[in-house]
Point group: D2
Chain length 486, copies 4
Amino acid sequence: MSRLSRKGLKEDLAAEQSEDRHDRMEEACGVFGIFAPGEDLFRLSCFALFALQHRGQESAGIAVSDGKTIHLKKGVGLVSEVFTDLEAMKNKPTVAAVSHVRYSTSGGSRPENAQPLLIEYRHGSLAVVHNGNLINALELREFLEDRGSIFQTTTDSELVAHLIARYGYRDLEASLTSALPHLRGAYNFLFLAENSLVGVRDPYGIHPLSLGKWKGHYVLASETCAFDTIGAEMIRDIEPGEMVIIDENGLTSKQALPSQRLALCVFEYIYFARPDSNIHGKNVHLVRKELGRRLAREHPAQADLVTGVPDSSLSAASGFAEELGIPYEMGMIKNKYIGRTFIQPNQKIRSLGVQLKLNPIYKVVEGKSVVVVDDSIVRGTTSQKLVNMFFRAGAREVHLRISSPPVISPCYYGIYTPTYEELIGSSRAVEEIREQIGATSLGYLGYQNMIESAGLTESELCTACFSGHYPISSKGRENYDEIRRL
Amino acid sequence: MSRLSRKGLKEDLAAEQSEDRHDRMEEACGVFGIFAPGEDLFRLSCFALFALQHRGQESAGIAVSDGKTIHLKKGVGLVSEVFTDLEAMKNKPTVAAVSHVRYSTSGGSRPENAQPLLIEYRHGSLAVVHNGNLINALELREFLEDRGSIFQTTTDSELVAHLIARYGYRDLEASLTSALPHLRGAYNFLFLAENSLVGVRDPYGIHPLSLGKWKGHYVLASETCAFDTIGAEMIRDIEPGEMVIIDENGLTSKQALPSQRLALCVFEYIYFARPDSNIHGKNVHLVRKELGRRLAREHPAQADLVTGVPDSSLSAASGFAEELGIPYEMGMIKNKYIGRTFIQPNQKIRSLGVQLKLNPIYKVVEGKSVVVVDDSIVRGTTSQKLVNMFFRAGAREVHLRISSPPVISPCYYGIYTPTYEELIGSSRAVEEIREQIGATSLGYLGYQNMIESAGLTESELCTACFSGHYPISSKGRENYDEIRRL
Amino acid sequence: MSRLSRKGLKEDLAAEQSEDRHDRMEEACGVFGIFAPGEDLFRLSCFALFALQHRGQESAGIAVSDGKTIHLKKGVGLVSEVFTDLEAMKNKPTVAAVSHVRYSTSGGSRPENAQPLLIEYRHGSLAVVHNGNLINALELREFLEDRGSIFQTTTDSELVAHLIARYGYRDLEASLTSALPHLRGAYNFLFLAENSLVGVRDPYGIHPLSLGKWKGHYVLASETCAFDTIGAEMIRDIEPGEMVIIDENGLTSKQALPSQRLALCVFEYIYFARPDSNIHGKNVHLVRKELGRRLAREHPAQADLVTGVPDSSLSAASGFAEELGIPYEMGMIKNKYIGRTFIQPNQKIRSLGVQLKLNPIYKVVEGKSVVVVDDSIVRGTTSQKLVNMFFRAGAREVHLRISSPPVISPCYYGIYTPTYEELIGSSRAVEEIREQIGATSLGYLGYQNMIESAGLTESELCTACFSGHYPISSKGRENYDEIRRL
Amino acid sequence: MSRLSRKGLKEDLAAEQSEDRHDRMEEACGVFGIFAPGEDLFRLSCFALFALQHRGQESAGIAVSDGKTIHLKKGVGLVSEVFTDLEAMKNKPTVAAVSHVRYSTSGGSRPENAQPLLIEYRHGSLAVVHNGNLINALELREFLEDRGSIFQTTTDSELVAHLIARYGYRDLEASLTSALPHLRGAYNFLFLAENSLVGVRDPYGIHPLSLGKWKGHYVLASETCAFDTIGAEMIRDIEPGEMVIIDENGLTSKQALPSQRLALCVFEYIYFARPDSNIHGKNVHLVRKELGRRLAREHPAQADLVTGVPDSSLSAASGFAEELGIPYEMGMIKNKYIGRTFIQPNQKIRSLGVQLKLNPIYKVVEGKSVVVVDDSIVRGTTSQKLVNMFFRAGAREVHLRISSPPVISPCYYGIYTPTYEELIGSSRAVEEIREQIGATSLGYLGYQNMIESAGLTESELCTACFSGHYPISSKGRENYDEIRRL
């Protein structure tokens, strides 16, 4: 019970948040909610999760209310692995549902962090899902622990559930209204009570959350591609700080928290979101094409062909090619069956050039001067392998073009990024990076061009990882007085 | 959020507690704890759980502290199914461990109720296991919910964890000392903190909990058969109301709660415990033999042979036979490979006499007058089948002898029993029961003889299911004033 | 393709046959067959396999004919693990079925050896199961390979299927009649064709095979306990060399091979069979009691109590006790949940006395002079541990009594035994063995007493492992001329 | 044993061959072989199978010889599901390996058909893998059955193994040379003996088989993308009718069967092969671009953009766009996480427009005249849904362009196609098809243009599905006289 043990936990939590796992910016989680009494909500949620699977592959879960009880099914694995049998819920009545996909960590996964989180409290049952990251999670947790709370997970969902239970108003809305001011960070929360569905988006709207309609019923999803998949119609984005309460009386909206501005994560456009999703009115694919076009104008190249790193950079690559009138080519194939295998090339084999995931088309690049468009450089190791792969395939020149500026600062809002030291863009000049990577030339998209591609103003975007300007202060300013009385 | 939904939960909890699943009294859970820095505690705990597996087959779990962090592995299934790979913990340092087997429900199992429960609170991590049942669980839960607690399971372990966290003294011992007076019911709790192991037994000592020593280190277990299995030595039983704190300074004992008397569950001797376990100085097998001997004196029979229903009634049957000088015979075989199969005879096949689990030895019983000794009659349906089976095997007479009195009252202390209405002993005379069952004669052991067989005084035993006298008042008398200030 | 590679296989096969795995004689396989059009044969077969599970735990399989096609389900594991869903065959028509449990090897299991073997040949489909062992399997295999046969398993079933297909008469019976004279060894074969079931027992009847009736339909099983389990009635044992053909016309019996004598494996009575089975009119439990009685007369002991090693030696122990009038006691408990766990005590823990499987009841044996009855000594290591365990539990004297003579010769007829060198009985005198084992005294049942216990004449039994007299010559005498023309 | 039962099998086999499962032409299987003593062949084979996974997702298997014994691991599922642990083979010596991925059937999979097939015969062990289809399989099977062969699978590999064993020469090469003339159809076979690897391609070379080199060792693979993945170098294609024997003496090639001409399956270029593979010197992606270019010239369209159906039609679409100077757009997203889920939209949900697999990018196609390029039309139902999807997404016009001619004849060479009746191209005029599909316009690539795109002459291709001209006569012409003597 020493301080040491306590420190153990905090360090563990911190480690989990900053853990440097992949040489990619990586998204945390996707959420989906629906209020549609009498429909096959288990199945529908499952389909929506399929559409959001790119936002998280570690675990998946669905909670469905039958009006009296909330039924939960969740597990570690892909949606197709967790939900192998939909018959369990077959003939049960249904009212509403929330569901979740969780980001896939490479190493140990914590099964207890799988969502939805289902709790019982004084007013019944509550299922919670979220994506994003509270930056004052540790403070809140300490505060709650000091007041006698116990924690079984390290999720923000559990934090919020505690606040709701402690405020304890009969109306979930009232408790939430009291609890939300204590949260600092990026978040979308969906709450499922026995007979209602509530969604809330942080006051900066860091991550997307959209409202749609399916057969006259309301649905909420991290990305609009989930709407297309189930045949729902997009209505609008949830506003920063907005809370929507959906129940048998329809939808009620209120501004739960004052919002100074939208600060939408620009990386959603650059990398995370699916190309067929629309965020705040902009189609992701089209934004990426524009990123590519501007990149081409900023860093043109004399080359025989332009190719993109599949799948995330194909849009930008086609924009780049169009802009310069250079042929856009499929220069590289991605093996879609890899992904989650536990069989890794050992060092001996790796050194012989095993390339499981990506393979250039030799006949396309042989003897050619190639522009390779990628979406970002994080630590630089992947880029180096990539360039190397093209040279080994016979490319004469490899002009690497990055459809975003150098990443110089870590993200605290739900994206996994390396630390400052590991971010190659934070400490080295472009020429140094080019040299290390081995590319013939290297060009990053300019900051201003990135902003303009998205069609939003700088003030409507969170560009912290490129600019170091964080929309949400990292210093705590919460008034804990009120909560202290809990 | 209506009252309805809340009722849903309460009913669910109540249903879970009274659920009538089998025509046997059925035990809930076994616990094991060890404080032995540097030893392979994961493996040792696993072996101990094997020895306790008869106390619960639904789920199994082990929590091991390495001095800073508590590592947890648990799952639904037998010990051998949950712990298929012990290598995970292989080279990790270890300090102490708690582990658990949970009673196997026939229908849906709740994976979230698997133990140990691992929580984080203001003073670090805590793993909790328990067996038994708090009779004021619902009241406590409502009380805690009204103070803003959230619940993720329906276990008593979570209730106690909340109380500990709310008291929140730096010393776990202090918090426990404050929390324990609020608990009413039968329980053994083991708590694992980063550097200590704490065990506590309810003030009536309803279920057994023993202290042993292994290589100079302290161990705690529901039954002493776990000590034999790992090569540990029995020291003594934990006293009613006693709390033992085991850490690097050795063992400290304190009387955490005043105890008026031991009220040990007499059914532990009759049916639950393993014959090789010793409880409060009495060997289970020998007590059962004595039950049989007294049964023989009370209800002798003129018969060719005596046989027991395997495995639980063999000891009593041999005592019965010895007393009367009638040959003790293996008259029935139990298939040890059944147990957990999901393949059940359908009605059509059942009616043809499929008997998967038990089979009389025809050549032994043919033409014979047989005494069949069983440990108890709950609803009577099993006894009827049993008698029928022996007659079909050719027995001339089937004298059923029960090594306990009629079960007339349900148990609220952690044993699954049918309701009053279903307890055949609560509403019918012995002759009526005999007639329904179809036995040639029927004899129950007398109440006083049962008491004397165990070698304890009546006041040292809980005999509620036979007498209707419950040692712990079912009415709440807790002073919630103090806790109210939490 | 060198001789070497060929040798590789032969050695492999030989190794598999002589492999010394456990310090027990171990049985190979159980079979079950039923011809009952329109019944739920999948389910019934499953129940029968449960009853035969003690004869093999490695794999299980069921083949059911619907009159046109034979459907097969088999896999590695216990019956309850392989058959988790019986609904697959739910509404399909059924005519007949054969099923099988295979002996559990400790190390690598060969999934391709799981039975039934299902083949297609010129006259349709054929499912084959067997138990026992052909001693000329390698010769037959070489012969068939030299004629161009390919093999996918190392089972005798595949050998016989090849012979049937090569003879190729339209009538399975005719092909079998031609093929059987080529087989030398111990075997029971069941064949399932689309519309018939055929069973055949080797001319010495080494292993049991019984005929029963269920609802007017014929059934065949390795042991009669399978009949009891499904509610079938025993009719008679299949005779040595008898072939029974069961189809819509009922049962036809023919003497497929001349039989000089029955040479029933005496170890079936001593150890393999279930106590509730009857073999050639003798109940296994009663034979074991008689073994114990004669053992008591031959090697009495002055002792306080008699106990048996569970489960196989309990019958003999009770006979021993009855004979001498010494109390028969439950002196030892067997953990029924062990069995197939992969978690083994490592050396360090083992040395501390972990005893997972068997545990003496200390209070029963403390300070006592104990007779421990076991069924056999194979290598002696188990006996040593056993004796040690009783002394550690406080026994004053441990008199080990073995209900069979010393095992001096290996078995070639389907039982796994160590080699001559490893059989402690083949090279050492009884006193030497006693000394090594550490028992106070040691007594083996005499050969003649063993014979007489079974109630059969010496010439009706195979006692090769005790006498070295093998009923079936190990030298080949087959006339391969006819088969050569195949 | 009636004719009926026999017919049952034949019908079953026939059904399996003609089964109409998907509205796509579907490929059967991929093979890989390597002879590289001392290397980690299990791991390498695994990586190669990952690269070939698109050729079959039902089952996967690897057989590795250690010089004396062949070790086999295979199972139902994806490569990543079957090979979860490569450590089993870790420190074993290795000489050579063959491996296989099998085409995924939608419904019941036959686990016993998983490859490699491992058999023992007179000269040792043999592992066999194949892709393609023997059109005289039933005749051969009947012939062999009439000679006394038994079959345990319905694979061509087992047929060939029987022939090899029956010829039975000490040299595998000699047996194969005798056996091969009996085979009629499309095939690539790889054989693994203890110390050699043999590959053979049918005399028309219907399916691709390439030879490569890895660290000085020879490798064989269905597609060159497997070479890139493991870092091997392409050497050349195996010639039609060529047999290569690879052992410690290096590679020996012989013309095992006379070949009149190459008749390479044109569908390998159109649809099956991975774009980064090269077949007979032509890169698949580049051939597809050329198909698109010629399609554009043949059936131009006035449109705002060109898009392809992912993933197989993207190459052709880009060629089409380039040719006409119309923008090539990503107009549709394919969900890469679907694939093998068992959760299907039920009729009710399907009718609401659930589109799990493909989703148009609404913002890209809204109000636009769109050219959609697809690779083929089989039954037409998929095309109809596709066109519908684009219109629902707001497209003004949907011009469907198919980069191959109408499919008018079924394939008998290892590709799953519907029957004549179901092939929409075999019975309807293009305008009728367009009408049914609902496209604004429809254009198929002309036959001659298809031929010329591939860069091979018509006589070097198998175009049977487009022309009805089958290179291999469907009538039997084998001389069975020789084989009859087997």
